[in-house]
Symmetry: C2
Subunit: 678 residues, 2 copies
């Protein structure tokens, strides 16, 4: 949960940014390097005195109003575009221990607004301040004494910062703090496997000083042995010798990327990068062959928050209740993907840019990859043998388009995929891998554990602490247009009248449209209910509501008590599904200021107003949750655990939209292939 | 739900069967063509008189006792093998309107036993008798009058047989009946889209005569237009022009197949074909690098039943409550896979053989495919940036092995995959595609529907009737040995004592071992529970139970009333999970005789004995269910709807078993490839 910058800035910074931008910029395009430089200059200029200690905590695009974007979509050759859609940026800075929300008009080189935020919570932590805070500890005398007491070598110690959460403290006591945890290398690079347990260090990020230090207890350091994961350092025989090479081959790219606009098969959408959300899909539309036009599906989709509460209430662990998007930035933690490994050979990569703490743009090479996926799956098929004299077998292979980002928030790696299918489905996939956050404990066998340890004994002195992962998705569906409704179709068992049928029972569908937000809070699994976002203003020729079906992939919700501070902050995990009316400011389910938030700006508080949501521009929020009881297989790195959900067209099309798919435009064989092993 | 044979026998019969068999036969190998011929001769010889009307309804391997198989596994070079493990066959015949269960010793060319079965239910319907019954109707005068009345052309009519279910009839009235439904081609091959509604025809299969005929009502015939799915006949522009060719390439096969034994990476298993179950996975074991040996995981896995009840209680539809495995045979309905389309270019195919109605072996070419799957996924990864001066990024691509069968039971196509992962997971995937069973109805718009129609209006005069699909898997896990237990780990919310922690709540794990069958009937979704099969006699070094975790993929259970005859027969769908002690005779959850079964031989009746299951050889049964509310996209063929579940090692290994996976043995580029378009 605690990335620090290390050498990254040096590796990935671009020292040359072309200042010219493309002539046809999309209004949702992320900020360019030259725009970051302009923003930096405008903001710094406004606080030019050396008396100002200014840091950029978040710099992102201030999006034009949705209505303006939609108008622009209809006619973007208009000369009015530039005036109507000026490039703006939303910036969060810390200036002399205050949080400022600044809006900059890049086109006019002016500050539109600059407000001091005085509410609860703090912005995303920058890499730089996390690195500074961590470094601080390494020369802090009490810590050096703790290290000496433990007979450890300070040169093998690595520290990282961990957000502190909120546990009922009153506002005046809530400093902008972080906790620093340290780990021990000495024979491994798997630092998370070797926590220096028992030490609590609090750093105030504003003054960049250690403000609290406790060395409460000493626990045996888990062994370095068995924690290595780098191929070059592993000595055991490798598995998989019998497996021959396999790869995906493509006869040229199957999709077009123009700037950040992607077109593939019947889909088009916009792909942007945001330092908080990471990948942002916008304006996803699908071409309808019958209607001969593109039809809207998803105005915007992204991971709004990734909440990871651990389940150990003890002094050194209770606070570990991370908001990975709002505290660390899923985009910020999305490191470059490795070609051929993170993505297949046919992938195309896209870079991202964020503002460093001083406002300078930082390039993340290959932050996204886009590839056509062919997994050997079948899009549809049928064998027909009932017609005498005929043997019919029609099969269409499934080829889809995947947009991938991997966000490594300290120990954990999240593989975040958006998959577009020609059938109209959008499948969202998440893979959990990386390294568990473990606790050192004095056990080498389960039988020794006489008290609760809040986890699984994974190796000598190593407990994998129970925890959850909740990924809450913002899904602003605009199904075939702006105004939509949320429909719950409950499958109801019915009894037949005994004389009418030999059957005694069957089920049918009771449809209910949610009128207000309270009717759209859904705890899945209670009833057999299918959930739809429909356009009540559009019907198919048959009279069915044009819609999309949410097929959830997990029914996991939070098990924490409503009155627990952790759950107050993470209240959006109480239900898996919520629907709100569209509101530009409601983007981050844990609040705009998630670090040390107090739960007064969450999806639950927004939704408590119980606004009307019928036939309105609505946003669907779905939480994909995982309760994680670690097992020994998850150590020292965890094999990917996958989950996901599907948005599937339901009476959106008049009939199967892939009936007439070219099947397939595939080269069948590559007779002259020569393999080159890496 | 109603395959008929058509021309298939002619296409796929082998006219030459090599009579020699391989010298080293595996005791679980399916019957060979020469064995079928021997069985045919032995049985026919015993009923040689022309007075016997004998049909083979099922012919399969009579497996040796599990204990014998396991001993054979340990030492199969022993000369005793042949004596200990004679090749036997279990045969179900109908002889003069009686069901016989015959066991043949093929080695000795003798009948071991021949018993008349007098209980409820009937065996699988043969293709031949279904074809005969369907043909019968086409010359049946009342039917010809019905066709004439509807102004249809008899030469465009195709009929198929539909099993009749059971609705409380007393034994003496339960003839071996089937219903025949007819469809209209006349411009399409999509017969299921054009039902001749309102006619009920019952054929007694034993006497092969129409025994009941009703023409109750006439409904407008749905149009042929818009129902075509063959590429060659479709005229609209094809989608996907922008998508370039893509394929999987492999530098030689990554796995070995010796007869029916498959070895790949760290897995080995046996793959067999059975005319009822289709694909049967046996003796799946995984090599443990650390222990330097193969360890048992799954003794046997297969689809025990596929129950498809429709939800329309009306006269022509109420009985549609199909048991696709027990009535039609998932193996029998598994038609040849199409290379490059049903399976990727690197697939290897395996044939199957079943006995035709007269006992003659019939070959099904390419009934299974086996391929290494590389979908661009990641087996595990981590990026490490916390160590100053280091940027570590380790990624292993996911390559798995898939065994595929597609069973087309009349209108529906079921893609049934077993996927083996190097991490130890077995993922089971099911894809539902093919054609909906639709009902003709007098509607061209939803607004016209004033009464319940039990489905979705999909096209003019076409209702897609609500229904379920329940695939119940037999999963005889032998986790690291024979005796296992079933453990329910419930995640329990806990309150902290207020003085002890700043947290108010957390969750922990309460483990409970099911002692008897009643404690192992699980309705998923009621509680946050994780389910495991563990070996209580084996512990990891850390003291954890060696186990496998069932990660369910759907929590769908039957919504029918317990007292409904349909549900009495399909009682195994009341819970998604059951555990029974191993019992060789308990294979088919809907009963050995599923056709017209009365529910006295189901998983529910077996389990009602409440036998002990702790530290015993146990079988896990999991039902993957789908409630299907059709949408217009499902017409005229349905884009694949996918589901599945995972069996994932949990403290089976001491640590991540794929830490040291060759990463990857992949050719990276194929510089000299020339594509050949099909």
């Amino acid at each position: 949960m605690a990335p620090t910058l290390g050498i990254l800035l040096i590796i990935f910074s671009l020292f040359f940014f072309p200042l010219s931008t493309r002539s046809r910029q999309h209004p949702l395009d992320p900020l360019t390097p030259s725009e970051f430089i302009q923003i930096q200059a405008i903001v710094k200029n406004s606080y030019a005195s050396s008396a100002y200690n200014l840091t950029f905590q978040y710099v992102g695009l201030e999006e034009p109003k949705k209505s303006k974007i939609l108008s622009w979509m209809i006619n973007h050759s208009s000369s009015k575009t530039k005036k109507d859609l000026p490039r703006m940026s939303f910036i969060i800075t810390r200036i002399n221990e205050e949080t400022h929300e600044i809006i900059v008009d890049i086109s006019n080189k002016s500050i539109v607004s600059d407000k001091v935020y005085t509410g609860h919570g703090y912005p995303i932590l920058t890499f730089e301040e996390q690195t500074s805070a961590s470094s601080l500890v390494l020369t802090y005398p009490p810590f050096l004494r703790s290290i000496k007491k433990r007979k450890l070598n300070i040169s093998e110690v690595v520290c990282a910062s961990f957000t502190v959460g909120w546990f009922g403290e009153k506002k005046k006591n809530v400093k902008r703090n972080t906790k620093i945890l340290c780990f021990y290398l000495d024979g491994t690079v798997n630092l998370y496997a070797r926590p220096i347990e028992g030490v609590t260090i609090v750093v105030n990020l504003d003054v960049m000083k250690v403000t609290e230090y406790t060395d409460r207890l000493t626990v045996t350091m888990p062994k370095a042995e068995g924690t290595e994961y780098r191929k070059a350092k592993l000595k055991l025989p490798l598995l998989g010798q019998r497996s021959k090479g396999i790869t995906a081959i493509q006869d040229g790219g199957g999709f077009d990327i123009d700037g950040h606009s992607v077109r593939w098969a019947n889909w088009k959408f916009h792909l942007s990068y945001d330092m908080r959300a990471g990948s942002v899909i916008s304006l996803a539309s699908i071409y309808d062959q019958e209607k001969e036009k593109f039809r809207h599906v998803l105005y915007k989709g992204f991971v709004s928050e990734l909440f990871v509460p651990y389940m150990d209430p003890s002094e050194e662990w209770y606070y570990k209740t991370f908001f990975d998007a709002g505290e660390y930035g899923l985009g910020l933690c999305a490191f470059p993907l490795e070609p051929y490994k993170d993505c297949p050979a046919n992938a195309v990569f896209m870079d991202g840019y964020y503002a460093g703490q001083d406002g300078t743009p930082v390039q993340v090479k290959n932050v996204f990859c886009i590839f056509e996926k062919y997994a050997g799956d079948i899009m549809w098929r049928h064998t027909e043998t009932a017609i005498p004299g005929k043997f019919i077998r029609e099969v269409r292979e499934e080829v889809s388009l995947v947009v991938r980002m991997v966000s490594t928030v300290g120990n954990y790696d999240y593989i975040i995929d958006w998959e577009f299918k020609q059938s109209g489905s959008i499948k969202v996939g998440v893979g959990l891998t990386g390294i568990l956050e473990v606790k050192a404990a004095e056990y080498t066998h389960k039988d020794q554990m006489k008290e609760e340890v809040y986890g699984t004994l994974l190796a000598d002195y190593t407990v994998g602490v129970y925890h959850d992962h909740f990924l809450t998705y913002h899904l602003d569906l605009d199904v075939d247009g702006h105004d939509n409704s949320f429909v719950k179709s409950t499958l109801k068992p019915r009894r037949t009248k005994s004389e009418s049928s030999k059957r005694k029972s069957y089920w049918t569908v009771d449809k209910e449209t949610a009128k207000t937000e309270s009717e759209a809070k859904i705890r899945l699994g209670m009833k057999p209910t299918e959930l739809f976002v429909v356009n009540p203003n559009k019907k198919t020729k048959m009279g069915n509501d044009v819609g999309y079906h949410l097929i959830p992939g997990s029914q996991t919700s939070s098990l924490l008590s409503d009155d627990d501070y952790v759950q107050i902050r993470g209240a959006f995990t109480k239900y898996q599904v919520w629907v709100t009316p569209y509101n530009k400011s409601e983007k981050w389910v844990g609040g705009l200021y998630a670090d040390q938030s107090q739960g007064d700006d969450t999806l639950a508080t927004w939704s408590s107003r119980d606004r009307e949501i019928e036939n309105k521009d609505i946003v669907l929020w779905y939480t994909l949750g995982f309760h994680h009881v670690p097992s020994q297989e998850d150590f020292p790195v965890m094999p990917t655990l996958s989950g996901g959900f599907e948005l599937r067209p339901a009476n959106f099309f008049e009939s199967n939209p892939v009936l007439n798919t070219r099947s397939p435009p595939s080269p069948r064989t590559f007779p002259n292939c020569t393999s080159v092993n890496s």
